[in-house]
Amino acid sequence: MSARVGVVVFPGTNCELDVAWAVEQLGGSAELLWHGERGLDNADAVVVPGGFAHGDYLRTGAIARFSPVMESVARFAAAGGPVVGICNGFQVLTEAGLLPGALQKNAGLAFLCETVECRVETSASVLTGLATPGAVLRLPINHFEGNYVCDAATLARLRDEDRVVVRYVRNPNGSLDDIAGVCSEGRNVVGLMPHPERASDSMLGSEGGVVLLRSLLEAAAAGAAVAS
């Protein structure tokens, strides 16, 4: 049976169909999860996709974290379920306290929309299980607030625990320590600014995201096998 991926949709989310398409291209099945519902529809993995959840009012992700679906996502994550936040989804997961740090305005205040090189730093996460550490992936970024920050103690911990999942080869936005994505202590929650789903077919200009999404589907299927 193929892995079921729940894709969370807030008012203002705009990457949910791209994620669902990419998941289905790779043999998974995708279900959209409306933010006002609590159910996760028996998902084996959850993706919080990009966009502008609740208009990004106040701060990116600040309002979205109070949506009913987020309680279920937090429970799912606490039980070890794979959760990935992409771009705005990463911002939502940091606001929800599921990932450390915060994302603020890019250094230089430029909105960035380009394909960048990202280095996989660890294969010990639900998004990089099939990737080789050191591999460089071409992934699109598309954000104004992707400048990762955290305090010195948190950064030291992220490094010591090998929780920086992907780094930019050339830092585009001022992110601390070139961080493009991090994972939780349990390694089952991952957030990243680049968009793997937009690099999931050669027609899109890059297939760099395929190994990441395949890793997620495999983690989801493994979890489903344990649960059943």
């Binding site: 106040l58 600040a62 109070f66 606001e95 915060a102 305005k105 890019n106 250094a107 205040l109 400048n147």
Partner: protein, 88 residues
């Protein structure tokens, strides 16, 4: 009988956290001839009205709002100023 307060919350970047907007404004001001400016910080101001038993209760509640929603303690500091609103 509760009292009506106006709260003004000023939210700024924590010291040590890069403030990209402040840095940009700081670079722009000398272009207008203001060469004597440093340490520019751009923040947010939130104004709200609330009813509470007294000023301490009002402050506690606004503090809680700051921690839970209005500010992100990972990158932001906040200051609260309260004033009692007189009856119209």
């Amino acid at each position: 009988m509760s009292v009506r307060f106006e709260a003004r919350v000023e939210i700024t970047h924590l010291p040590g956290i890069l403030d990209p907007q402040g840095a940009t404004v700081e670079r722009a001001l000398p272009a207008l001839g203001y060469d004597n400016v440093s340490d520019v910080r751009v923040g947010k101001s939130i104004r709200l009205v609330l009813d509470a038993d007294d000023e301490a209760a009002a402050r506690d509640q606004v503090e809680e709002m700051c921690r839970r929603l209005l500010a992100n303690p990972v990158i932001e500091a906040y200051e609260i100023a309260l004033s009692e609103l007189s009856a119209p």
